[in-house]
Symmetry: C2
């Protein structure tokens, strides 16, 4: 399962993330890297990095896919229940992982296996 080879492309892509909690959209990555690699390569690397729990993905307000580094590195469970919310700024588009932990609600007769929580508003830079 997943990433096996540390290719030039994989390194270049990971490099875009730096150390931050800030997420990047697939589109942004394709744009930034289009001189270095093909669009399908970007999509395929992202998929592999997610399979290997190095990145996680979520859907932004516009329906686009975003990726961010996993900071629970060391956690080797392939698909642990990920409960942190994401925040997307309505003004500048900045999208980030929040370190808050969200209580998963109990719903009668339902079993909850995963959650996705997106907050939309204004980020620290854009709240005036």
């Amino acid at each position: 399962m997943g990433i096996i080879r540390k290719t030039k492309s994989v390194k270049a892509l990971l490099n875009e993330f730096g150390q931050q909690k800030t997420a990047l959209s697939t589109l942004e990555l394709v744009e930034r890297l289009h001189h270095q690699m093909n669009k399908s390569t970007v999509y395929r690397i992202l998929e592999r990095l997610e399979d290997n729990s190095i990145l996680h993905s979520f859907t932004g307000q516009d329906g686009l896919t975003w990726y961010a580094l996993n900071h629970n590195n060391g956690c080797s469970q392939p698909h642990h229940l990920n409960t942190h919310p994401h925040f997307q700024c309505r003004d500048c588009g900045k999208t980030e992982c929040l370190s808050v932990s969200i209580p998963i609600p109990e719903v009668a007769e339902h079993s909850i296996e995963s959650v996705s929580f997106l907050l939309v508003g204004k980020c620290a830079d854009c709240v005036s």
Copy 2:
């Protein structure tokens, strides 16, 4: 803003929802109604009904758009802060509004304007 005329198509589309809390995906609606109206008509009606606070939309796990009736009818604010979560069944695909109310977390230096909360798991019918 929004729906002005009660056309045959608008009635047919609203009729698909019945009274339930169950949501319908745009694709499902296009499929169900394709003998009665054009695909773009479905999309445009959904947009108008949402503008008029008769429906609300959200994004499912697969990135597709879903719509459900607003049950806060009478509330005339065009864009009130909608905090109820949605649930999508991993097995049968059934997608519904939950009547639970979710506390919106405070995030330092951020202003939160809207939230979307999607729970994925097994619905009452599919939990065995």
